[in-house]
Symmetry: C2
Subunit: 531 residues, 2 copies
């Protein structure tokens, strides 16, 4: 049983920010040891690279793109006036659009008013808005919001059945940078079919947030969607929450988008300072490097002690893993970098897996997030004399922190004053910067995602295979063959396993013209066509 | 770019179950290689230990307890008639209670009827019911359900504000085995205060699910709660979903609890077979061992391709990490065992972190879960000619599986026919058994959680410290001291860091009689009392 380092070490390693207010506690990670000292030159380069990126340099060389999410909250820093104006114009258009929805001048039909938002998007087009809605939403918001973030037909049915008749006053916001994300396209088609089935005009319900010139962008113009907002190629999906992607749902739900942007802007300023000690993002990047030995050797377990931050770990999971999980470094060397992230919320997670964190594998470092204020609304109740539910919550955070430190586990704690819009903007900006600096430290490109394409390509092959199998089976009515035999006949011998699963799925659906003879078994099952 | 092993290997390694219907695809893990062969004797012992456990042996020696979750769905297997009768009686009482709630004979007040359930519990007392509610709930259920699974005052406020006036017809189910879980106690006190504030009789709304004889059990009797159901000491929280903990909310919400139990029972039968190849739990346990080198060397990333299974990864996270994350093995040797688990749902997660899974760290194996049927309700829409949203969903699963296999990543795929109550019961039972067998393979006790206590103790110390600080500050009005000085004066010199955070929190709350002089800084901040 170890003793955590004492108060002096705690005070030395702490980073205190006044604006935005933040306390970063690094008592549990050796951020001033030899290993950390060795990073100082690389950190200087990271500051330099960040300066070049913010000045408009090409930070994503294989896609030839600039990276501009920092400009979204400080348009005056944009490298040219056109960009600045585009950002300012979009912020203004979002605000005016939301106001028109609220006052009924944009409405589904004359005499009605929008009551709900259905946000259709996936990955970077959903997770930021989901985090914000969960962190800031109340039952009194002018519009409620729901999300379709998948292409699961059961999930789609559930969402529409929860909406029920409210679909008639639902604004459907479709978010896809490329305009061609299949999950999002499918969700949109399912929404359009249901609007039509009720005799409604889909276009009056639809808003597109997409790249200027994409197929969705043009469709929104041709079919006169209720609204259309741009996604720029210099904003990555996982850092798009301060673009129209995040601002539009915030404004529609009545959340303080201006304060959110202001919090992010203030944090950007604080993390722009090229000081390895005073800059909290630099401090965090060093802490990640030390804890993970610069190669993601330990997972980051993210536990915010607030129900409203219950999606924050998933938000960071996407931001961190998609940015850092790379096969090659920027010099083309194979490095297999990354940093695995998971977690939910405290103290709930203590009852789920702190048993393992304390006693089991030394394969993680913890990032705990606390808030200083007890509750923003309502009166505190004393559940014991002088003690509130919030005191318990903070007690559990401090208790877990100590229990982990005693076992030599690595712990970072971050304290915010509260979880309002400004603090949330600041929190997100802090980790955007940390990821950028850390990527420089380990020399990977944080701004592309080449590995995602392979899965998409393979999925498209499976759909082609399905079409080919249906053609082949229907062309030979009565023939019964095994999955490898059908795969072979359709010229997809290399996809025999996939053919088995496709045929199993088709045979499981009584509405599909495929039946199986024999047991559901990869060797014995044979499949044929039923007309 | 590797080729995954071919169809023959796929077929050899597949496990096909007829009842409950299940297809387990182990193409992506070498479950028949030398390493796996070496496990066969240990697997024989694991089967033997499982037999002894099911027969009523003491499986949790340091707590002197039997482990009986398998009896909950097959009471005739319980080792003595009293247990069998207690299980059967409770199943019957749950059914009758729910029926009385539905027909209004148990009601908040004469002439009213319960409309909602508020389930208060944390960890094992919440996650099973949450998973089930998310997997099976519909807007047409006889009662809606919400959860308080934390002691966050903001989260508590949000839940009650969402309930609004429906609190007057809300049944409050309080679940705590010990009857003394602070988070749950706090949630109950907050509920009682709100019921009282509306002039309602709290007891008419309250149901306790707790250990017979616990403080909560006695309180439920004395204050005549609307209902009371037992938790037995031979059922662990993380395996309690087939006890009253899970059955009561299922029955109240109108889900098919009998089918759920039946699915679990059928899976128990299939995984009781001491055959290392035909038993899917044994096969999975071997796969975990091979993939994680018997020491949790790789995380398990759980991605079910169904929105309704969006909590399944968290459910497994608790079941696996709390069961396996142990400092010592059963012979007292320090081993630091465990298996880290995370994930959310597909294809959504592909847009979040499959980039890293494919290109980045080789520190995981994936567990993908698919369902064969397209959708249970509603008509499939063709989003492209001949292709449905569900085809895309399955295509993404198969595409990701292939993209990972091509990179030599380890993948397990599990196919269910659908996600109804019976399949869900079977799925949970499969992993309960897998965890039990795997724990035997690595020689740890899966049925205790000694590491959880340290955090609880440390949290209690923080609350004592808070009380002592408030006493000390109020006893010296006008005195201003730093956190370490106050810690010293209260005899808690070793808790100076915790004192800093406690004082910061108290000073941040204008309703608390503590103020800070100077900046929020561990060295310079000084705190005093305000009367």
């Amino acid at each position: 049983m170890g003793q955590p380092p004492g108060y002096g070490t705690f005070a030395d390693r702490a980073v205190v920010l006044d604006d935005p207010p933040l306390l970063l506690d690094l008592q549990g990670i050796d951020v001033d040891g030899t290993e950390a000292q060795r990073l100082l030159p690389a950190l200087e380069r990271a500051f330099e690279e960040m300066r070049a990126l913010e000045a408009g340099g090409i930070a994503n060389p294989d896609e030839g793109r600039r990276v501009g999410h920092y400009w979204l909250r400080a348009p005056d820093l944009a490298p040219d006036p056109e960009l600045r104006q585009a950002i300012e114009r979009t912020i203004d258009e979002v605000r005016r659009f939301a106001a028109a929805v609220h006052d009924g001048s944009i409405a589904p039909r004359p005499g009605t008013r929008f009551s709900d938002v259905l946000h259709i998007g996936i990955g970077g087009s959903a997770l930021g808005p989901q985090l914000v809605a969960d962190a800031l939403g109340t039952p009194d918001d002018p519009l409620g919001i729901r999300f379709l973030d998948n292409t699961d037909p059961e999930g789609i049915e559930r969402t529409f059945s929860e909406l029920g008749d409210r679909l008639e006053t639902t604004l459907v916001v479709v978010v896809s940078k490329s305009g061609g994300t299949p999950e999002t396209r499918n969700g949109m088609e399912e929404a359009i079919a249901r609007l039509r089935a009720r005799g409604l005009d889909p276009a009056a319900h639809l808003v597109a947030v997409t790249g200027e010139g994409s197929a969705l962008w043009r469709r929104a113009e041709e079919q006169r969607f209720a609204g259309r907002f741009p996604m720029w190629d210099w904003v990555g999906g996982r850092t798009s929450v301060t673009s129209a992607v995040g601002l539009l749902p915030m404004a529609l739900c009545g959340h303080d988008a201006a304060a959110f942007l202001d919090g992010a802007r203030a944090m950007d300023a604080a993390t722009r300072v090229p000081d390895p000690y005073a800059n909290p993002a630099a401090r965090l990047a060093v802490a990640w490097h030390v804890a993970g030995e610069g190669r993601g050797a330990r997972d980051m377990v993210v536990i915010p002690y607030r129900d409203r931050l219950g999606l924050f770990a998933r938000y960071l999971q996407q931001l961190v893993m998609e940015s850092l999980g790379k096969e090659r470094d920027r010099d083309g060397r194979i490095v297999h970098q990354g940093l695995s992230v998971y977690g939910n919320k405290g103290s709930t997670d203590q009852h789920a897996y702190v048993q393992q964190l304390r006693d089991g594998l030394d394969n993680f470092f913890a990032l705990l997030v606390g808030t200083l204020e007890d509750r923003l609304v309502g009166a505190p109740l004393e559940v014991e004399p002088g003690v509130t539910s919030g005191d318990f919550l903070a007690g559990f955070l401090l208790g877990t922190r100590r229990a982990l430190l005693e076992r030599g586990r690595r712990v970072i704690t971050l304290w915010l004053p509260r979880t309002d819009a400004r603090a949330l903007g600041a929190l997100i900006a802090l980790f955007e910067r940390t990821v950028g600096l850390y990527a420089s430290l380990v020399n990977v490109n944080a701004y592309h995602q080449p590995g995602v394409e392979a899965g998409k390509r393979a999925a498209a092959e499976v759909l082609s295979l399905q079409r080919a199998l249906l053609d082949a089976l229907s062309g030979e009515e009565g023939a019964l063959r095994t999955a490898p035999e059908w795969a072979e006949r359709t010229g997809h011998a290399g996809l025999a396993v996939e053919a088995f699963w496709v045929l199993e799925r088709l045979a499981a659906d009584p509405r599909r013209p495929v039946r199986r003879e024999g047991p559901s078994d990869p060797v014995r099952a044979r499949y044929g066509f039923v007309s």
